[in-house]
Every structure is written in C-alpha cells, then in structure tokens.
C-alpha cells in the first residue's frame, strides 16, 4: 500500500506509527510538521495542569461537612422530635382507647332473650362506662398526661422568657385549660364511670396538647 499525505490522520489514530508512515515522514516536510505538532500537543498539554496552594480549602470543606452532620448528632435533643413522638403516641393511644371503649359499651345484638325485661335491666346505660372501658380511658389519660408533661417541659423556656402578645395569649389559654382540667378531674374523681365527664376531660387534654404544640411550632418558626 502506498502511503500518501491524506493517510496521515488515519495513521495518527494508532499510538505507534506504522512503518509506511515513518518512511513517508522522512520524505514529506508538510506531514513531518503535522506529526511534530501532533506530538507537541500532548507534551504541551501536560503543562496545562494547573496547581496552586489552597491551605484554607480543606478546613472549609471539613467545617461544611461537620455543619451538615451536626443536626444528625443531636436529633434526640430536638424539640421537634419529642413533639412528633408525643403526637404519635396520642394519635395511636387515643383512637385505640376510644374504639375499645365504644366496643365495650356498644348495645348487644338484639336477641329474643334480650327483649325480656330482665335482660333490659342488665344492659349498662350508654351514659356510663364499664370497668374494662374505664381502664382503657384511664390508660389513654395517663398517656395524654405524660405527653403533655413532656411538651410542657419543652415549652417552658419560651413561656417563661418571652413576652410577645402571641405568647401571652397562649399562656392565658393554658391557664384557662389548666383550671378547667382541674375542675373536670375533680368531678371525674367522684364519678369515674361517667362518659360525658371523661370525654370532656379528654377534650381538654387534647386542647392543652394542641396549644403546647402551637407554642413549640412558633418557636421552631422563629
């Protein structure tokens, strides 16, 4: 095969020039110049590698890494985590308690025997809880009280240090709720099986819990 100038580019695609190309370069100045430039591009390219000192770069990267990791480290100290956990406990315990209570107090299916006057007398009236339902309601109340205690603890610093109108409102609302809770609890103590009192108490607890969560969420926004 006769090597011509037009073949040079194809020949350069191989790292080693084949013998015909080498022979051609000996006799062709134009191709020789092209070949020299081809080789020079690679050698000059090495000089393009840019190096400069950046003593502050790694410390800055490290600082950024640590700043990103910090929230992960103290997740268990965050108020949001506790507030979410408390809300989750309540979201699970209360509906389960109420459901069990409704199952326990539901009127029995009508059977011929149930229509007799004796059977009618034995069915609990819908205004009063059974022993088992009462236990469930008291368990829910304990969970409420526990989560409220935790939320109160988290909200206390803000309530005691800030005096914005928003905080003042929330403090007032909490005071009202506390007094209503105390009153209702006193009534419940003398009438534990009363559904209406227990429901009113649960509702007050829910309101207090929501108010405390509002306090914390304002805190998070600020």
């Amino acid at each position: 095969m006769k090597f011509e100038c037009g073949d040079l580019e194809r020949a350069l695609a191989n790292s080693d020039l084949f013998p015909e190309a080498r022979e051609h370069l000996k006799s062709c100045a134009v191709c020789r110049r092209e070949y020299r430039l081809w080789s020079e591009i690679s050698s000059v390219a090495r000089e393009l590698h840019e190096e400069w000192d950046t003593p502050a770069l790694w410390p800055s990267i490290r600082q950024a890494i640590e700043a990103e990791r910090k929230p992960e480290r103290i997740w268990w100290k965050q108020r949001k985590t506790w507030a979410a956990a408390a809300a989750l406990v309540i979201a699970i315990v209360v509906p389960v308690g109420l459901w069990r209570h409704s199952v326990a107090t539901a009127p029995p299916a009508r059977t011929p025997a149930a229509t007799t006057p004796t059977a009618t007398r034995q069915t609990p009236t819908p205004d009063f809880l059974t022993e088992q339902a009462l236990r469930e309601v008291e368990k829910s109340e304990a969970a409420y009280r526990q989560s409220i205690a935790k939320l109160s603890q988290l909200a206390a610093p803000k309530l005691s240090t800030q005096s914005s109108p928003e905080v003042a409102n929330e403090k007032e609302r909490l005071a009202l709720l506390d007094s209503a809770i105390a009153e209702t609890r006193a009534s419940v103590a003398s009438n534990r099986f009363n559904i209406r009192l227990q429901t009113a108490l649960a509702d007050l607890y829910r309101q207090k819990q929501e108010t405390l969560r509002d306090v914390l969420s304002h805190d998070a926004k600020n």
């Binding site: 081809w38 390219a45 090495r46 000089e47 393009l48 840019e50 190096e51 770069l57 990791r69 480290r73």
Partner: protein
C-alpha cells in the same frame, strides 16, 4: 465525650495510613472525616486543575471542588462500590462543574460563544489553552482527563460511563480538531 461524625470516638475505627480501596470506601460509608481528608489529599490537586480548565477560574474551581466533596460525603453511605472511589468522585466533580457552567451561562446569556483564532504571536501553550475552549464538551473532557491530568482510558471510560474505545476515539477527534485549529491561518 469526643464525637467523630455520629460515633463516639472509641467506636470510630481508625483509618490506616495507607488504606486500601475497600478500607477507604468503608470508612467513607461510616462518615469518617479522616477518610474524606485522605481522598482530598490524593485527588484534590487534579480535581482543582480539571475544574479550573472547565470553569476558567481558580475561585470557581475551589468552590466546585468543595461542593463535590460535600456531595461525596452526603452520598458516601450509599456508595455501593460498583466503581472505584476515585472514578465516583470525578464523576461527581464533573457533574458539579456542569452545574456551575450552566449557572454561569444563565448569568451571562448574552456572552459571545467561545471562538478560537490562531495567533502567530502566542506560544503553543496559550494557543492550545484557547483552542481547547472551542472543542465540544466530550472532546474537551477526554483531552483534559487524558492529556492534561494523565488519567488512563480505562479510568476515563469508567468516569464518563462510555466504552474505552469511545474514550480513545473522542481523544483522537479532539486532537485532530486542535491540530486543525493550531495550523489554521489567522483570519
């Protein structure tokens, strides 16, 4: 208690002075800062140089290298080891550079496109630097990685996720293009 990124120091396994790829990958997965520092020591010079050629300024290059390292740290837990750590890091760096380029382009939409004019009074190095800007993205990338930063075609192929033959072919195209631009008479 002293903490080492999520773990109290006694539980954070120490990194050997010359860790193997597996040890390094594992330490990165655990989020050990020393592992990232090791990667920085080994790769940052090349990373800065590559970013400099792609972005055109040292300040931008440093910012992009920092961004790349943060992304490496964030994603290290999920690093599966399907490629080598260095390949993975360069891939992240290149993506960060492209993001930075896009951002710069948005900021300077009216800027004139890169154009090369061979000049007789400039050295080959300067001319080559200018000619490089006129190459297309893939040609410039392969040329920078192979000729300037000295990576092997197998490494470049892994970084760019193309076959090795494609990397060779893009380099050849790049050099042909550069040669043409460098021998072109100034207009």
């Amino acid at each position: 208690m002293v903490w080492e990124i999520g773990l109290p120091l006694p539980f954070a396994a120490s990194l050997p002075e010359h860790p193997t790829e597996t040890e390094l990958a594992e330490a990165c997965r655990r989020g050990q800062v020393r592992a990232f520092e090791h990667l920085y020591r080994v790769h940052s010079a090349r990373m800065k140089s590559l970013a400099f050629h792609l972005l055109g300024s040292r300040a931008d290059a440093e910012d992009t290298v920092q961004e790349a390292f943060l992304k490496v740290c964030r994603a290290a837990r999920g690093f599966e080891g399907n490629s080598s750590l260095s390949t993975w890091i360069y891939r992240i760096l290149i993506n960060c550079c492209y993001d930075a380029i896009r951002k710069k382009q948005r900021l300077a939409e009216n800027a004139a496109p890169a154009e090369f004019r061979a000049e007789s009074n400039v050295t080959l190095k300067v001319a080559l630097e200018r000619a490089l800007k006129a190459l297309n993205e893939r040609q410039r990338m392969v040329f920078l990685l192979f000729e300037v930063e000295g990576l092997r075609h197998s490494e470049i192929a892994a970084i760019l996720e193309v076959p090795e033959g494609t990397s060779r072919s893009w380099l050849f195209e790049a050099k042909c293009q550069l040669k043409r631009m460098l021998t072109e008479a100034p207009k």
